[in-house]
Symmetry: C2
Subunit: 152 residues, 2 copies
DNA sequence: AGTGAAAGAATCACTTA
DNA sequence: TAAGTGATTCTTTCACT
């Protein structure tokens, strides 16, 4: 992946509707070679998908809650089943296995506190082996981007 | 926003390259009225942008770190300047003002621990008034989606 | 909300360096 | 192996119904 590919990725991370013609101009190529580069970036999985981002508040999902979890089980089988269950919850936007005090961190979206509480109960009853759960509410979204910082 | 719009949004959240024709079929409309709905969703800001999502590991940004912050200042002016500074850092993918023990939570991406440490020093020296900072490393990304769960 | 036409883009076979 | 041209096909967009 050279500098040209990085520039292409940068543009597509900002607006993936940019016509190939315009991207080609930006990297001093003609349409076809530029198009082929984009295709390769997709085939390699560097571009994983092209999506529409919505405004959470406008679809009545203005509340983000971070849920910290501890567990007693740390074996592979448990992790696998945990991952499956958590992934299946549409409310869970992000889930990470963590180093340090907490074993997992989730970002959950909800309409309001009551809706989050319904999710919370589903989580507690649906996932075995949780030894500690702590929820922190986000009051305000200061920054949210999907644009990864590429060197060039 | 009715059920038809929700279906349209659902499709575009998964793949925004889906031809309008195909979306129209899915919601039992012909192309033009469907296209007009999409336009309106964009105008209202419900669709905020269309972007390409990249695979972090493939662009050498496999490390996510959550940074919890406390501050002594809680006035509007401080918040405003904090928001500006934090937003300006390309490494910061997400930043929330929190309720509870910690005042702010950031998700930062980096190439490795050394790169994160460079960011950490920039943050500490570039932002005034931080009284406590704690960094937690994500070992594994279990789920990451931008797809908000719409009712229908 | 629908039809059909015109404009605009993506995609591909083929050519060149 | 990487880039370019031009033709074809697919999509978007819009005037009109």
């Amino acid at each position: 992946m050279d500098k040209t590919d990085q520039t292409i990725l940068k543009i597509l991370q900002q607006d993936c509707t940019t016509p190939v013609q315009q991207i080609a101009d930006a990297v001093n190529l003609s349409v076809t070679p530029c198009w082929k580069r984009i295709r390769k970036l997709e085939e390699k999985g560097i571009i994983r998908q092209r999506v529409a981002l919505l405004e959470p508040a406008q679809v009545d999902l203005g509340v983000s809650v971070f849920v910290h979890l501890k567990t007693q089980r740390h074996d592979d089988a448990w992790l696998k089943s945990f991952a499956e269950r958590v992934t299946a919850f549409d409310e869970v936007m992000e889930c990470y296995r963590m180093a340090g005090e907490w074993d997992y961190l989730l970002r959950v979206v909800a309409k309001d506190i009551a809706a989050f509480d319904r999710f919370y109960k589903k989580l507690i009853s649906g996932v075995e082996g949780l030894s500690d759960v702590s929820s922190s509410f986000a009051m305000e979204e200061i920054k949210y981007t999907t644009q990864l910082p590429l060197s060039s």
